[in-house]
């Protein structure tokens, strides 16, 4: 079974976007901004 890289890229971007978004928000929250 071979999944197209274009499909994997979509899921990877979704996951990375969520992690970066939450990390940034938590960082800002801890800094009190």
């Amino acid at each position: 079974m071979e999944i197209d890289i274009g499909i994997i890229a979509g899921y990877a971007i979704a996951l990375a976007g969520l992690i970066i978004g939450i990390a940034f928000s938590v960082y800002k929250e801890l800094k009190g901004e």
Binding site: I7, G10, I13, A14, I20, G21, E29
Partner: protein, 498 residues
């Protein structure tokens, strides 16, 4: 459907009316009615924005889409939603909240007038918003009403009333506070239903990897190998496959639906009602998690439904489902879930419709009161303003409900077209305008006029021949006009971005 399933759906609808009374105390003043006296905390705000954004199309169209399209549709729909919600909360929310709090503007058109010092820009924003949101609400009504009429076995007209009347009651009684608390309840229900749906489908197919292995060994309708679902340029609508336009179409549709949230007035208006900037900071963590969770649970399920449904229905029914993918998830749930649970799951698209209708109607009501009545007649009497706001909310809820009897297209495409066109019109004037000092009123006006003209005309005349999704040319041309026309003018010295 069993009577227990029907009862659960009616209980959900009835509960929203009871919750509506939660906003009664605050809705005795105009500010209390449209902004809940700025008392909305982070959890309610995050859930409300998520539930407003996701209409029935997210569950029906979004869930069933990969029954026709390859899994790239689900992957990129999820990706754009996550990117959109992160930008919405991190880049747009706090700056918009600070701007409207400092300058005490109360609606998106008023923001546009204040930002660009242009009454004409405000008038155009009002016209564009009312036109596009009514069109959008028609599709939202249809999504919820089709489910109600099927489950309860009633006429679509009666189903539309069952959907509209509770929403009208609770927004008239409780205004934004009631709608936002209801969205917390309805949003929770949507997440629970999404979790159940994902769990039932994945349990049946043996998990995502096993499911994909089974799918690759299938030959759908004896002409589409299952491997086509694992290629981004693989499965899609047959005419689009023939023209080798599957990838551009998938990226175009998913971008339009996922990114629209960063410029949708019915979402942005809710930041006005935040308790304080701390509510935005906390919501910034909660909001993206809610949207991402829902997207990851729902948007890729359709492909796996071939394993569940195709040996239980005739080839002609499979072909029909591939043409109208909105029915894939409901049919799968009816096969897999026990009585009671399936009522709970199928209440989700109804809940999604109600939450979207409520906040969109309130947005239009605020626009009617603040941007039309108050601008024309300078009415400042509190009771009169409240009366106008409540009655216009009821009218704006009824107009698309009546139009829903006439309109007839695939839900996901209609929502996509309206969403995308709103995005094309307002991305420059609202989102970029919050940051870009040099943006001018001519650019803002051109962006809205070009966005709506290209978005609608492309959808009507060029979409089915080019297979380029209308939002893409509309956004490119609207943004180009916004930027170029702003650059040729001198910067506004009065603008003071935060």
């Amino acid at each position: 459907m069993q009577s227990l399933d029907s009862a659960i759906i009616l209980i959900v609808i009835g509960t929203t009316i009871i919750i509506g009374f939660a906003g009664y105390r605050l809705s005795k003043t105009f500010m209390g009615y449209i902004f809940a006296n700025k008392t909305i905390g982070p959890w309610i705000l995050a859930f409300s924005i998520m539930a407003t954004y996701f209409s029935a199309a997210s569950f029906l169209g979004g869930g069933g889409a990969t029954y026709l399209y390859n899994l790239g549709f689900g992957a990129w729909l999820t990706a754009w939603h996550v990117i959109g919600v992160v930008i919405l909360w991190i880049i747009v929310a706090k700056r918009l909240f600070k701007y409207v709090s400092e300058y005490k503007v109360m609606s998106i058109p008023e923001f546009i007038e204040h930002r660009y010092r242009s009454r004409l820009a405000r008038v155009i924003a009002v016209v564009v918003m009312i036109f596009l949101f009514i069109f959008y609400l028609v599709s939202v009504y249809k999504g919820g009403a089709i489910i109600i009429s099927t489950i309860l076995g009633i006429d679509i007209q009666l189903a539309l009333l069952i959907l509209a009347i509770p929403v009208i009651i609770y927004i008239v009684i409780g205004g934004l506070r009631a709608a936002a608390i209801n969205n917390l309840f309805l949003g929770l229900l949507m997440l629970i239903a999404a979790t159940f749906t994902f769990s039932y489908i994945m349990s049946y197919v043996g998990g995502p990897i096993k499911g994909l292995e089974i799918l690759t060994q299938m030959n759908i309708l004896d002409k589409y190998p299952g491997t086509l679902w694992l290629k981004l340029n693989g499965m899609g609508p047959p005419p689009v496959m023939e023209r080798n336009m599957v990838v551009p179409l998938i990226i175009g549709i998913t971008f339009s639906i996922g990114m629209a949230q960063i410029a949708l007035p019915n979402l942005l208006i809710q930041f006005y009602a935040a308790r304080d900037s701390k509510a935005i900071s906390r919501g910034r963590v909660i909001g993206p998690i809610l949207v991402a969770l829902y997207a990851m649970l729902i948007f890729s399920l359709g492909a796996f439904c071939h394993i569940i449904l195709d040996n239980k229905i005739s080839p002609s029914e499979v072909a029909q489902l591939m043409k109208d993918t909105d029915w894939v998830i409901p049919k799968t749930i009816l096969v897999l879930a026990p009585i009671g649970i399936r009522g709970l799951i199928l209440a989700a698209p109804v809940a999604a419709s109600m939450s979207t209708i409520a906040l969109t109607v309130l947005t239009l009501s605020t626009t009617m009161t603040r941007d039309i009545v108050q601008v024309i007649s300078k009415v400042n009497n509190e009771k009169m303003l409240l009366y106008i706001a409540k009655s216009s909310a009821a009218i704006f809820a009824l107009i698309p409900m009546i139009l829903a009897n006439i309109e007839n297209r695939l839900i996901v495409e209609m929502v996509g077209a309206a969403f995308g066109t709103i995005f094309a019109c307002f991305l420059g004037p609202i989102t970029i305008g919050l940051y870009w000092k040099r943006a001018s009123k001519i650019g803002a006006i051109a962006s809205m006029v070009i966005g709506v003209s290209i978005g609608i005309s492309w959808y009507l005349y060029l979409y089915r021949t080019t297979w380029i999704y209308p939002t893409i040319p509309a956004t490119i041309l609207a943004l180009a006009a916004y930027i170029l026309l702003s650059l040729v003018r001198k910067p506004d010295k009065n603008f003071n971005p935060h």
